[in-house]
């Protein structure tokens, strides 16, 4: 019986004490230390090589979903060195649709080595998809210190898959 009681109060005590100790009143430990926000877009990156995919897909929805989903494979980037927090922008443009999309990656020294830059999916309404393929252009741009530098660029075919 006494063991039980000790356990109950022990657990409640653990929860309450941890909360109070990490709170602003006691402040003995800071569990949510917010590392000071770094200056994004400042620094530099050395890219050894980058390879972009040659084909992206626009797939019709299954199971009764109507939207087409645009999926672009990752770009493989070999990063030799990073300084500061430069930005890596992976961008797709489809001129004939007047469409552009990009996903921004915040690089840090942890990303040195091979890095897979992804582009998040997008969806198109079905009545706007009326070709079997679209010509697009992919670009990988490094942005740092208020200037942009194109690291790699290529044309891409966006295939429509019904």
């Amino acid at each position: 019986m006494d063991v039980d009681r000790t356990v109950v109060w022990g657990v409640v005590g653990l929860v309450v004490v941890t909360t109070l100790v990490s709170g602003p009143l006691v402040g003995a430990v800071d569990l949510t230390s917010d590392a000071e926000t770094p200056a994004y877009g400042v620094g530099s990156v050395t890219v050894e090589s980058a390879s972009l995919p040659e084909r992206a897909t626009l797939t019709a929805g299954r199971f009764g979903a109507g939207e087409y989903r645009l999926q672009v494979p990752d770009a493989a980037v070999a990063i030799a060195a990073v300084e500061g927090r430069p930005l890596l922008v992976y961008k797709l443009e489809i001129d004939e649709r007047g469409y552009s999309r990009s996903t921004t990656h915040f690089l840090s020294t942890e990303n040195v080595g091979s890095y897979a830059a992804s582009m998040s999916d997008d969806t198109f309404a079905p009545d706007t998809v009326n070709q079997t393929a679209y010509d697009g252009r992919l670009a990988l741009v490094v942005r740092a210190n208020d200037s942009g530098r194109v690291v790699a660029e290529r044309s891409i075919t966006v295939e429509v898959i019904e």
Binding site: V8, V15, L25, G64, A65, E67, D121, T123, A125
Partner: protein, 620 residues
């Protein structure tokens, strides 16, 4: 000494009033644990900006909105009147004030994300201890539960990340709605156990919490869960008050009127949709309708409407410009029961100004009562018309969703995300077992009395479900509603009715263990299989939604077929119970995926371990 006795008695009484018994409390706490585990501390719908801004304004002592604490002052549901901007649902805003102050207090002594984890951990431990006492496993609950809770708490603390800035007003609103949502399960338990025993009541509670999207909507500050809770509470009050020999029978009846009046303070049109069926059923089945009784009930009702009156007076500035519901701008397909609010000029009633003041009050009161009623009738008529002329729309709302081009066009590029009522709650398929009762209903209409075994609470719930559906069906389906949230209250209502149907109830009573097993297996094993399938098929969110939809419909089809057969034979009851559990699992899995993954709202999960889980799941 006497005071202490009275306090104990009062505490016992309020405990029984709120939860009924220990199982009721257990359902309440268990639901709350689930809702808070799926809680995301961010805005899901931009309508919520309106209410959060309203709470921020009221907390500062203003009723009008001056500057947006969140989003903008043009979010849907914002009201314009006399040059000022107002929020809506003032009832929940006022109810959230104490929670807001409590959150402020917590923030003073604790780090907020850690405090949320601590709150949830203590809640879970409390639930476990209570369950241990209820099921005679106290030692296991204390020691085993304690170790698990401590471990989970530490795990969460290790993973905790800062929330900044803390959307305190939103959190207060979410907690209030989650509490209301937790009462939905408890009330389902109490309502069903009132007529069919506690075992069936518990199955009903599980079906309501796990078999409908309740857990998804509980932490969204929208009226839907509140409406559901009030509907079930009123049904319980009705059931309780029909037996005049009971203690508190009359008080229970009065409580129904109070609840509906208070619901009007939160959302007047929906309160009216509930009020009309309630009055019809209440007056026609009450043991006593003497003038004194009705007078007291009317008085209580008016008294409970005072907060609504006061709010309206504060907004329109004139006590005579009364209980009209606000004109809502940019409300989408929301219902409104007023036409144009004539440019805020209360003297537009022109020629009545010469009359004595009390007559004018009477006229305006009568007008404001009649106008919404005719509007409501119009909405119901429109619903019936839409059912007749466009049954496909109803089919697309209630049965099978999929992509609908003109609906998508109206939504202007919002990603599609919508499940029908049946797809999101396949357990509702059991209601087809009622079809054989139609003959009995026809006969009873001829006799002008309720059929055998149908209580006044059942009649109220059935009428309310029909009324709610008819009012909204004309403007549905919509493109991105997750589940048809306007019709959400219909789901728990129909569950409570379905489990009361004799063939369904018979199977649940005999095979409740099968229900629990198949539900658990469905969630724990089936949920993982669904995850594997979704990852392997590499689905987008819209496809994932439709995958859940097809799965839910398949289970609904099987369960519905069994329900039809169950009327004739009890041979397949065990299979039916297993299907019932699977239907619950289908909803639970969908709600879990939706809350954790599809609508993670940028990793805003209140529990760090759930956020980590969401990050680990390779779904886009």
């Amino acid at each position: 000494m006497i005071d202490r006795e009275r306090a104990t008695r009062l505490r016992g009484l309020s405990y029984r009033f709120l939860f009924g018994d220990r199982v009721g409390l257990l359902v309440f706490l268990g639901s709350l644990c689930l809702f808070l585990a799926l809680w995301r501390t961010a805005f899901l719908i931009n309508d919520s900006y309106t209410i959060a801004n309203g709470l921020a304004a009221v907390a500062d002592g203003n009723i009008a909105l001056t500057e947006p604490a969140y989003g903008s002052l043009r979010s849907p549901g914002t009201n314009f009147y006399g040059g000022s901007t107002y929020s809506r649902n003032y009832g929940v805003i006022v109810l959230s004030l104490p929670v807001l102050y409590a959150l402020g207090g917590i923030e003073a002594v604790a780090d907020f994300p850690v405090a949320l984890v601590a709150l949830w951990s203590l809640l879970v431990y409390g639930t476990v201890l209570l369950a241990g006492r209820q099921f005679g496993r106290e030692r296991l609950a204390r020691v085993g539960g304690g170790c698990v809770v401590a471990a989970v708490f530490l795990l969460n603390v290790a993973l905790v990340e800062p929330i900044s800035p803390v959307p305190r007003h939103l959190l207060a609103l979410q907690l209030v709605h989650a509490t209301a949502g937790a009462f939905v399960g408890t009330l389902a338990y109490r309502l069903v156990s009132f007529t069919d025993g506690r075992r069936r009541g518990l199955v009903a509670a599980i079906a309501v919490v796990a078999g409908t999207p309740l857990a998804f909507w509980a932490t969204v500050p929208k009226r839907h869960v509140v409406t559901a809770a009030v509907a079930l509470a009123v049904a319980l009050g009705l059931a309780y008050s029909r037996d005049a020999d009971r203690d508190w029978a009359f008080e229970a009846r009065a409580v129904c009127y109070v609840l509906l009046a208070l619901l009007a303070w939160i959302h007047a049109p929906e309160a009216l949709v509930l009020f009309v069926p309630f009055v019809l059923v209440d007056v026609s089945t009450a043991p006593d309708n003497g003038p004194r009784t009705l007078g007291v009930l009317g008085g209580v009702f008016l008294l409970a409407l005072v907060p609504l009156f006061v709010t309206n007076t504060l907004i329109t500035g004139d006590p005579l410009t009364v209980p009209r519901m606000l004109r809502t701008v940019g409300q989408g397909s929301d219902i409104s029961l007023t036409g144009e609010l004539s440019s805020g000029d209360p003297s537009s009633g022109g020629d009545t100004t010469n009359l004595p003041r009390f007559v004018r009050v009477g006229i305006v009161l009568a007008q404001s009562a009649v106008e919404p009623l005719t509007k409501l009738l119009g909405l119901v008529r429109r619903g019936i018309h839409s059912l007749q002329t466009d049954p496909t729309a109803a089919y697309r709302t209630l049965v099978r969703s999929g992509y609908i081009e003109h609906v998508a066009d109206r939504a202007e590029g919002t990603p599609e995300a919508n499940l029908t009522l049946l797809e999101s709650s396949p357990v509702l398929a059991t209601i087809v077992a009622a079809s054989t009762g139609l003959v009995a209903i026809k006969r009873s209409i001829e006799r002008r009395s309720l059929p055998d075994g149908v209580t006044s609470a059942d009649a109220f719930l059935a009428l309310t479900a029909v009324a709610l559906t008819l009012v909204y069906i004309g403007s549905l389906p919509l493109h991105a509603q997750v589940t048809v949230r306007y019709l959400f209250p219909v789901a728990p209502i129909l569950v409570c009715l379905a489990v009361r149907l004799p063939p369904v109830g018979r199977a649940l009573d005999a095979h409740w263990r099968t229900v629990l097993w198949s539900w658990s297996a469905g969630v724990l094993i089936g949920g993982q299989l669904v995850l594997v399938a979704l990852v392997a098929l590499d689905v987008g969110r819209a496809e994932a939604f439709q995958f859940h939809a097809v799965l839910g419909l398949a289970v609904a089809l099987a369960l519905g077929s069994w329900s039809l057969v169950s009327v004739a034979t009890e041979c397949f009851d065990r299979i039916g119970a297993a299907l019932f559990g699977l239907a619950l699992a289908s909803s639970t899995a969908f709600v879990g995926f939706a809350a954790i993954e599809y609508f993670g709202l940028g990793g805003a999960h209140a529990l760090p371990m759930v956020r980590t889980l969401a990050d680990a799941i390779p779904l886009r």
